[in-house]
Subunit: 292 residues, 2 copies
């Protein structure tokens, strides 16, 4: 298998592959063009290298749980396995880079990706805020730490989000919801002031927003080119016209899985087709039968 | 600039680059080796292509907010800009793939990545659960939807996480916390039963866990090779020995930014150095001065 392979991906703890006879050094000597990608909880170096991990463990240790959820509320997990998913994405970047590098040098490399490292890498402005100010980033519910208004808001029949990322959008928002006087208040004049007085601003905006439904506001704000959106559940996401138009829900040709839907490929490439079905997975049973 | 460039990345709304004279077709004809990566809120096709978006908008519309937070609690944003971050990661994969493809075909391609599509792509098991069962995935607080126990737990002085991903780990967990009888209860015998009775199991485990501190449990569970972790805040993450050992906190050589720390590179490659500092950013003012 390795003779024809371009990439080997493994997610054992460090040392396990060597025990099985598949250490990187050994494989690299025999298959110099084989890219070797190792994904593990904590990576192949450092004091915790041999420790076990799951998504939940790195969400907790990597900081994202400390900034997700409501102030004084219970700990909150990101609802999707972001610890697994981001490690997969960074590994894919590492593999593609290694393949590109191999084209130029003729020789493959080993990639070592740790789930914990990837959580650190996605903390983005939380790290900058902490190192610049010394204040430890907190849980903020549904609002952005440094842009206001940029949050979930209550309409008459539920919540939706508005992201008014600059002064012009904020003024337009106040006008469209029929409360232009809010934009004139000195305490809401700049983004820094709005962030300082975010609770009062949330209340003032919701006084106006509670007069109409989510659907009405999404229509009116959308018509005014204001960034806003429904808080869609998974059923609404999969049925959404934009999601469907982008071929982001695909099925499989495998008859035994008829009706099962999966996420499509979000990387649309001008030269390659974007099929709306996936072939069946290799079937070990069927292969066994065919060889007897 | 384009004559020497390998990749052009832009994040305008569809049509903006064409108005500026930089449409893909036009550039591709002149610079056939230039990879063109377009990142936008909704992509270059579909009914919402021209709509504005920010991270918050695609977190809401893409479903992750509907599964993040506590049941009956208020809407909750993922604490980091996962809408921006995942779009960047998928775009990086697209660019690296296009560069590899260019090595083989001699010609570049255009990549079209939508932030909304990327949110669909990271929903992972929420899509499978919905299409397989018809039940719309809900907000579950800090617990995993289909693995139990896999959640945050209360010790005597705070919360930490345990991820006992299979029957053997669950039995070992009960033994290590001094409550082996929990593992013998019929209602907790399999993962499916534990997930069905997750609230009772949480209570039973916390009865034992509340007797000791987080630090004690992390030490004892860790010694027994059970996946567990502290819920670290950003300060603790940046100071963590494993994070430091992996060079995941870097600084810059730029004297004006002394003391500023940033996330390191989570893709460790066997052939390339992993420096712990980054060079200064280009300084437009300094360049202006040097040319006068």
């Amino acid at each position: 298998l390795l003779t024809d392979a371009d990439v080997l991906v493994e997610n054992f703890r460090p040392g396990a592959m060597a025990r099985l006879g598949y250490a990187w050094d050994h494989l690299h000597a025999r298959f110099p063009r084989l890219v070797y990608a190792a994904v593990s909880g904590f990576g192949h170096t450092g004091p915790l290298a041999s420790r076990p991990a799951y998504d939940m463990v790195v969400q907790a240790m990597g900081g994202v749980m400390s900034i997700t959820g409501h102030p004084d509320g219970p700990p909150t997990r990101v609802g999707t396995s972001i610890g697994d998913v981001t490690a997969g994405l960074f590994t894919a970047i590492g593999i593609c880079s290694a393949l590109y590098d191999r084209e130029r040098t003729g020789e493959a490399t080993m990639i070592d990706v740790a789930m914990l490292d990837c959580q650190v890498a996605i903390l983005e402005n939380a790290i900058a805020r902490y190192t610049a100010t010394g204040t430890v980033p907190a849980r903020l519910g549904a609002r952005h730490p440094s842009i206001t208004p940029f949050s979930a808001f209550a309409a008459s029949d539920g919540h939706f989000v508005i992201a008014a990322g600059n002064d012009a959008l904020f003024r337009r928002l106040c006008r469209v919801i029929g409360a232009p006087e809010i934009a004139d208040e000195p305490r809401f004049r700049t983004n820094a002031l709005r962030t300082e007085h975010h609770a009062e601003l949330q209340g003032a905006l919701e006084n106006a927003l509670r007069r109409e439904t989510v659907a009405t506001w999404l229509q009116r704000l959308g018509a005014a080119d204001l960034p806003c959106g429904a808080i869609n559940d998974v059923a609404a996401v999969l049925a959404h016209p934009q999601v469907r138009a982008r071929n982001m829900v695909v099925t499989t040709d495998d008859e035994r899985l008829a009706g099962i839907e999966m996420a499509g490929n979000p990387i649309k490439n001008s030269r390659y087709p974007d099929p709306s079905t996936r072939g069946p997975v290799p079937d070990l049973m069927a292969r066994d039968e065919s060889t007897t």
